[in-house]
Amino acid sequence: MSLTVNGLQVYYRTLKGEVKALDGVSFSVRDGEILGLAGESGCGKTTLGKSLIRMDGRMRHAGGTVELDGERLPIADDARMNPYRFHKVSLIPQYSMSAMNPTRKIGKMVGELLRSRGVKLDRADLEARLAQVELPREVLDRYPIELSGGMKQRMVMVISTLLNPSLLVADEITSALDVSTQKAVARALAGFRDTGFVKSMIFITHDISLTYQIADSIMIMYAGKLAEKAPARTIVTAPRHPYTRMLIDSLPEVGVRYGDKKLSGIPGSPPSLLDPPTGCRFRDRCPLAFDKCAEEPPALEVEPDHFVACWKA
């Protein structure tokens, strides 16, 4: 196993109390695996990604462990995490495209970044990586503003993986792109895994159809908890959690017309995580809810590699 997360709890400190954004999540990612992470906004996807790499000042590690390649990550200790960042774990954050320093040429920025990590720039290696994502080496002489959205996104991918981290977390990196650019970026990501630039990957997106294209397995989160995790094909063709089923049923596809097949959304909205409900957190939106759901359902392995947290699964 490349990554093993056990009972992870991460809360945000706010004036009104603690937001239980990640409340006891366990899963693992194998070597060479791309795990797609999906769920409605606010379910804790970004929080999970940040927890593995860099917690911000308002986040508190309230419990659970993270192990990478057999080594326990000191996720709550910002300074002790430093040697792991870029070398072992790397994050491409949401909106990273606009976060590139606009006043530095890209090549210079890459050099500075590597130096700050105590690594010497290997020009040939860098160019090989640029070629892999079909960027001309001239991009190094340009400013971030001169690159299109798709080019910037691929540049950020190259930078985040220069040191061949074991785990890469990519948070909604294709969401702002047009379909053809989205396809190119997603495929380049899968290519990074194939070439061994990264060993395994967590690909965060709210778009299940997109994650299905490159992920080996998909994890669906709901309100800070794991709802279901299974091989990608199983999630799409044989989901067992009511939430997963409803999510999939709400997706229009090319070829599906309102007149022929009326799709439906999920009534209601996710609960506040400041004071989350007891029992199954999906209970007030779930058409199958029954008495037992007042107790929290454990995530059980219903068949090999297929985990579901639902009393009806």
């Binding site: 409605e40 906004s41 079909e134 960027l135 299109s148 959205g149 798709g150 080019m151 792109l177 047009d178 379909v179 053809s180 650019t181 989205q182 396809k183 190119a184 997603a186 495929r187 709210h206 778009d207 299940i208 159809s209 997109l210 299905y212 294209q213 799409v236 063709t237 409803m246 999510l247 999939i248 709400s250 997706l251 229009p252 596809e253 090319v254 070829g255 599906v256 017309r257 309102y258 009326k262 799709l263 439906s264 959304g265 999920i266 909205s269």
Partner: protein, 301 residues
Amino acid sequence: MLRLDGVTKVYKVGAFGGKTMTAVDRVSFDVGIGEVVSLIGESGSGKSTIGRMILGLVPSTAGSITFDGVAVKPGKAYYRNVQGVFQDPFSSYNPVFKADRVFQMIRQEYFPGVADWDERVEAALAAVRLSPGQVLHKFPHQLSGGQLQRLLIARALLLDIKLLVADEITSMLDASTRIDVLNLLADLKSRGLGVLYITHDLSLGNYLAERTVVLRRGAVVEMGLTDLVFGGPLHPYTRQLLSAVPRLHAAWEDADPVDTCLYHDKGGSGGLLEAEPGHFVACAALPGCRGAAVSPASPSG
């Protein structure tokens, strides 16, 4: 009802406005009563510019836009018939005021004397499937994106409009609420509302619209009945877009190699050919097409 004829928009760009940029190039199509037409294209293809010209927010450079046969003239009378809703619902609200202020504003402007205002508001809310208790007297931050978007549609309905220009209205919403907004538009259409549904998401446009217009770099490359355009796309660009759409039960395919095309410089509405009844294309693998190759949208997009 709404008709665009050879509509063109040229922006002046550069420090001194010395250069020009053709954002919309001789676009012609129409939207009928109770009809949803989707306008599809990648970012920068000119979709919003077309929407803004229809709403009279920017002037066109050439061509004509008419509503019920009359040239569009922005003003109170026109906005009783035509309204727009845009991508980011939050930007349409002032965070320091309650969200339902958007209703009071049109009351002052259009209905100063009406007695049954509250009933009208309730009816409009019911039409967008919101209950007054859920949304009235709340601040924008207390409502979800889907609720805010539906409030804006309700506001448009209060005016009893005939045409709604919906520009990427679902792109900020989760899948679970997005489909409700789409279904809502479909229901409104059966009450006679015409909708121009602007999106870069082909599957959303496909779900809703009986007719589809595909835009590339400001010009229409293909348009017609949605079933024909998406079922048998003729233009290499449409085919390439369709092949890039991620699907749930199928792996990405690679588009057919883009070979020949009549589009090269004949483009624009003047160059549209009627390939079959109800299906128009600016270029095609049609007999006699020997045009220059279209380069596939580069992955550097």
